[in-house]
């Protein structure tokens, strides 16, 4: 058991998916918006990154994809962020009126439409086969160190930046307004504040982070295949949020760490047969479902994630 490799994998995945979980925490944990389609930001960012940074599609290869601008990695990352913003704008604006389960269903549907598009439009990004071997940035420049470690560190830095920014928002009057929106929208409105503005802003501001995480995910896996961007990602992130005691950024990170650790430990077990590995993977899914149910009921970590102290006390 290569503990070093496991550690690098865990740190990388926790960082990448941790950003997505933080995004979900801002949207649901603080603003009370049930988003069942977060994977769409993630996927939009990932695919935009690939399409911007790949070399233009050639006649010779069997892969088909819409464009390939051969841009440098940082431009791809920026493009990914813009893609997230655009997707959030397109799907966020019409849903401003929706609440609760209606919002959940619409966000879910939008994400599935996007996923279907990626799968069915061969000419977009090679359909179900997807694009493999996406080049990792700065491969040659960083050949003197272990690339995996470098990527893990980069992802971790990204996570920390996102965390700091989101935490500052949460601890400010903005965070308070989000929670007020979640607690009683009518009371917020009759206090003279526009709930739609907060809803739209929080979608537009946080989505690019999840989209950039998608680009990091491409750097990590070098694979842009639709199977990696299904609703399962959305629900893994939801489970992580609930496990961590929904409602705080720190809780979100605790939750995703637990989920990733669980997954990677199972994956590290050497199984004798494919069937055994498949059973383990299936039971892992079942266990995650069970954990979600249990944690929703008993909220054991809720005490770790009390509402943030935010007010300057007088006297």
């Amino acid at each position: 058991m290569n503990w070093g490799q496991l550690a690098i994998t865990v740190v990388t995945l926790v960082s990448i998916l941790g950003v997505v979980t933080l995004v979900l925490n801002m949207q649901y944990g603080h603003a009370g918006l049930i988003n069942f389609g977060v994977v769409a930001y993630f996927a939009a960012g990932a695919y935009t990154y690939v399409l911007l940074t790949q070399a233009p599609p050639s006649e010779a290869s069997l892969d088909q994809y819409a464009i390939g601008l051969d841009l440098p990695a940082w431009a791809g990352l920026a493009g990914a962020a813009v893609a997230g913003l655009v997707f959030a704008a397109i799907t966020g604006w019409p849903t401003l009126r929706l609440r609760g389960e209606y919002l959940a269903l619409t966000t879910f549907a939008f994400a599935e439409v996007f996923h279907s598009f990626i799968v069915n439009e061969q000419r977009f990004a090679n359909g179900t086969r997807g694009l493999v071997g996406v080049p990792r940035p700065y491969r040659e420049e960083l050949s003197f160190i272990d690339y995996d470690i470098a990527l893990a560190v980069a992802a971790l830095v990204f996570l920390i930046i996102a965390y700091v920014i989101f935490e500052r928002i949460v601890r400010s009057p903005y965070g308070r307004a989000l929670e007020a929106l979640r607690d009683d929208e009518l009371a917020l409105v009759t206090s003279g504040k526009r709930s739609r503005r907060f809803r739209l802003e929080i979608f537009l501001f946080t989505a690019p982070f999840a989209a950039m995480a998608g680009a990091f995910y491409i750097w990590y896996t070098t694979l842009a295949i639709p199977d990696l961007f299904t609703a399962e990602v959305t629900f893994i992130v939801w489970i992580a949020l609930v496990l961590g005691g929904e409602g705080s950024n720190r809780g979100a990170l605790i939750g995703i760490t637990l989920v990733i650790l669980f997954e990677e430990l199972i994956r590290a077990i050497p199984f004798d047969t494919i069937r055994a590995a498949q059973i383990a993977a299936s039971l892992e899914v079942a266990a995650l479902g069970l954990l979600l149910i249990i944690f929703l009921r008993w909220q054991p970590f809720a005490s770790l994630t009390r509402a943030p102290k935010r007010v300057a006390r007088s006297g």
């Binding site: 269903l105 009518l186 979600l292």
Partner: protein
């Protein structure tokens, strides 16, 4: 001709969606939340049937009957153990919880069944050629079953005592309780009924096509589409909505590639929720004073 063929296809799809969604909408109406795990219950029923029928060699009807009953009780057990204790937390929490239940059921099912395609051991019946249009006897049977289910449910809800108490609960739970209606018994009946309908839906899935452990997920969005078009919680609306969605999906094959068929359902969800969230027959889910 192609259009007629697709209409026939749509009738079968509509019949299936009707059965599949009635149970879902019943739960929404009476228990007040969207049970995402409903589709997984269908999967459970399908695979129990498969196991008894194809693996153990039992007669299909016997296998199906047992599977349906088992599913009904699983639905009840899940409700009692998982949903009831957190009902006070509100429909959004129950919705999220049902995702957990779906994961749980999916994990167990795929662990037991494994990967690969399965099918029932049922007689291969040739399609009849009715004036150039192919009609499978199984599809006809499904249509008949759907009709029986709809009529049966209507009779049950309107003529039996349990059915009436379910209807009373659907209108106003507290009022029903204070009027002496046994809310617990009605709730129990609701879940058994929903499980039974899910069971029938699962069996129908296996009759119409082959089974993999992923079928449930593919179905849930279509079921959601039907439920939304009907107006969340409306049962009569489901009858119309099932066929509206089915025809939209199957007739789309005239202009779109087959892979996009489910997208029609998703697009319907989006359009309906943005334009008329109350569907065909429901009330507006907006801010109220």
């Amino acid at each position: 001709m192609r259009v007629t063929q697709l209409i026939v296809l749509g009738l079968g799809t509509g019949a299936f969606l009707l059965i599949a969604t009635l149970g879902f909408s019943l739960v929404r109406r009476v228990e007040g939340f969207l049970n995402i795990a409903h589709a997984e219950l269908m999967s459970v029923a399908a695979f129990v049937t498969w196991y008894l029928n194809a693996d153990l060699g039992w007669h299909f009807v016997l296998a199906a009957a047992i599977a349906v009953v088992v599913t009904a009780f699983i639905a009840l057990a899940i409700a009692r153990l998982i949903y009831d204790p957190i009902k006070h937390l509100g429909p959004p929490i129950l919705l999220i919880s049902s995702v957990g239940v779906a994961f749980l059921l999916h994990g167990i099912t795929s662990a037991v069944i494994g990967v690969g395609i399965r099918s029932f051991q049922i007689p291969r019946l040739d399609a009849w050629n009715v004036g150039g249009v192919l009609v499978t006897p199984y599809r006809i049977a499904l249509l008949v079953l759907a009709g029986l289910v709809a009529v049966g449910l209507a009779l049950f809800l309107n003529k039996t005592r349990t059915g009436k108490s379910i209807r009373a609960m659907a209108i106003n739970k507290e009022l029903a309780g204070s009027r002496g209606i046994n809310v617990n018994a009605a709730s129990r009946a609701t879940w058994l009924l929903a499980g039974l309908l899910a069971g029938l839906g699962g069996v129908a899935l296996g009759v119409l096509g082959t089974l993999t452990t992923d079928i449930a997920f593919q179905q849930i969005l279509v079921i959601l589409a039907v439920a939304i078009v009907a107006g969340l919680g409306s049962l009569y609306g489901v009858i119309a909505a099932a066929f509206i969605v089915a025809f939209a999906m199957d007739l789309s094959l005239l202009i779109l590639p087959g892979g996009y068929r489910p997208v029609i359902a998703f697009a319907i969800v989006i359009v309906v929720l943005l334009v008329r969230p109350q569907g065909v027959a429901g009330s507006r889910p907006e801010l109220t004073a």
